[in-house]
């Protein structure tokens, strides 16, 4: 497998930033790191990229240990740090040439730089100094430098922070695209993003892993209840609603809008529709809520 972490801990004084976490990431997987601020996501990433040493446990990337073989590890990794630090005085091209020099790309330098500029959509801004770019473009430069040497593994710390909605869509699709042949770990606060982009999710809280599963499974695990929201044009008597089959409980939201909780996993939308038909009610809105990842997140990190 691409990344293997075993019993990893990082202790700062008396505080355990990372508390004996273990997980694996397979080649070609996109892993979403989810967790509240201060949970240990960035610390774990910094350990994987050999920026800081761990206090105990092991971390292996592509078969190389981060403590013993940092040079080998850093060759195979592309890293976008939190806050995306950049050399603001350099021109975009110049900066990428510098990074290429660090990775000793040699002859293919110019070609790779051209490719990266195109892939990250920097073509229009490539003549500017890095400091003159807007945040979204700076983020793209950060991504470009991470991908320049075509690493097997990409570690992205909050790659979409501070981007506007258009840029978000582009970067997300880029990450998903990259995930097809590379191993990608990215961290985020946005649940929908992780849901949309990642194959698997690890939720970290206070240095410990509280969930490690594919996005689908996670939703199914916690989401025991199916909730249907229905809006009727008319106001309905409470007692009448009790006659709907398969409904465990119901709750009025506002006027004609009600939340119905289903018994088990039954799709009660049909029952509600039939009920409305029988009683000659006008059904304005019928929606099945799936237990979103946000709910899962809140539950696990309480």
């Amino acid at each position: 497998m691409s990344i293997k972490v075993n019993g990893l801990s990082k202790i700062y004084g008396t505080q355990k930033a990372v508390d004996e976490i273990s997980f694996e990431v397979n080649k070609g997987e996109v892993l979403g790191f989810l967790g509240p601020n201060g949970a240990g996501k960035s610390t774990t990433m910094k350990i994987l990229t050999c920026f800081i040493p761990h206090s105990s446990g092991t971390a292996t990337v592509c078969g190389h240990d981060t403590t013993n073989e940092p040079l080998e590890v850093t060759k195979k990794i592309g890293y976008l740090p939190e806050n995306n630090p950049l050399y603001v005085d350099m021109y975009v091209r110049e900066y990428l040439e510098f990074v290429a020099g660090l990775h000793k790309l040699g002859k293919i330098t110019q070609q790779r730089i051209d490719e990266m500029i195109e892939v990250t959509g920097l073509t229009a801004e490539r003549k500017k100094k890095v400091g003159q770019l807007s945040k979204g473009y700076k983020q793209r430069v950060g991504l470009a430098q991470a991908m320049l040497h075509n690493p097997e593994v990409l570690i992205l710390d909050e790659p979409t922070s501070g981007l506007d909605p258009n840029q978000l869509v582009e970067i997300r699709s880029l990450i998903k695209q990259l995930g097809k042949d590379k191993t990608v770990i990215f961290s985020s606060h946005i649940m929908q993003e992780v849901q949309a982009v990642a194959d698997r999710v690890i939720i970290i809280n206070k240095g410990k892993i509280v969930a490690n599963d594919s996005t689908e499974n996670l939703q199914n695990r916690i989401g025991n209840e199916i909730i249907v929201t229905a809006e009727f044009k008319q106001n309905i008597d409470r007692g009448l609603l009790g006659t709907i089959k398969g409904v465990k409980s119901y709750e009025q939201l506002k006027d004609g809008k009600w939340n119905f909780v289903a018994e088990g996993k039954k799709d009660i939308r049909e029952d509600i529709f039939n009920f409305a038909k029988e009683k000659n009610l006008t059904l304005l809105h019928l929606n099945k809520e799936e237990y979103s990842l946000e709910e899962v997140f809140k539950q696990l990190t309480r």
Binding site: K46, T49, C50, F51, I52, P53, L71, E72, T74, K75, I77, Y79, P81, N83, P85, L86, Y87, V88, D89, M90, E94, F98, V99, A100, G101, L102, H103, K104, Q145
Partner: protein, 243 residues
């Protein structure tokens, strides 16, 4: 290492630090050497570059920490140290890249002073009546002096994220290593030859020795040891940041 060397150079010259360092150095030197009546060679009457070589170290004490103060402090401040540390380059390569870039800058500052050399050479009567050997030795000494100060400056930059602190510390350390030991040796509290030993711990003793025109291995070893010491200390400082 080459990539870092080139980047540092590029940063020096795109941010004016490089130009200002060289211009200030040459300007101050030029003023003292040719214009201010007290120290001007033209008034002094003797065909010697001694005033140049005695003033230059003091200018270096302020100038070199100013050049090197941002080398690590800025990277730590802006977080770009994280970018560098997660690349397939060793700490030593990073340090040496920055070191040689700063050293090159010092060299570029010194080279235009060869004009002074030529001027005095031509003005001497008869032409050429100057201590060429001594002057060449002094140039070597000045270069090594600069090399040591650069190492000290880079070390001071690596132990703080504040550039001003790095500068002040650098000035202090350079000053201390250059002068302090010869002052201490003059206290008269040492027995026998010990005061000579103490003095030879200081930079000025070896700098003056080289200025006599003889490249003594003892002096070269001294300079190289100091440079190695501070580069080693810089590496230790960088590693300890991670813990």
């Amino acid at each position: 290492m080459k990539a870092i060397f080139l980047k540092e150079l590029q940063q020096f010259f795109s941010s004016l630090i490089g130009y200002i360092a060289i211009i200030v150095f040459l300007l101050v030197l030029g003023l003292f050497m040719w214009i201010f009546p007290d120290t001007s060679i033209l008034d002094f009457g003797y065909a010697t570059l001694d005033s140049f070589f005695s003033i230059a170290p003091y200018i270096f004490i302020f100038l070199i920490p100013a050049i090197t103060m941002r080398s690590f402090a800025e990277e730590i401040n802006t977080g770009t140290i994280e970018l560098l540390s997660t690349r397939p380059v060793t700490e030593l390569q990073i340090i040496l890249g920055k070191y040689f870039a700063a050293l090159l800058l010092v060299l570029i500052a010194i080279i235009p002073t060869f004009i002074y050399f030529y001027t005095v050479y031509a003005l001497a009567s008869p032409v050429g009546n100057i201590d060429v050997g001594g002057i060449l030795g002094s140039y070597f000494g000045l270069f090594f002096l600069g090399a040591v100060f650069v190492a000290i400056g880079i070390f001071c930059s690596s132990i703080t994220s504040n550039q001003i602190v790095a500068f002040i510390l650098g000035v202090f350390l350079c000053f201390f290593i250059y002068l302090a030991f010869s002052y201490i040796s003059q206290f008269g509290i040492f027995v026998g030859k010990n005061d000579y030993l103490v003095e030879s711990l200081g930079l000025s003793a070896h700098y003056d020795a080289m200025g006599k025109g003889v490249i003594d291995t003892r002096d070269v070893v001294y300079f190289l040891s100091l440079i190695s010491l501070f580069i080693f200390l810089t590496r230790t400082a960088l590693s300890s940041r991670k813990w």
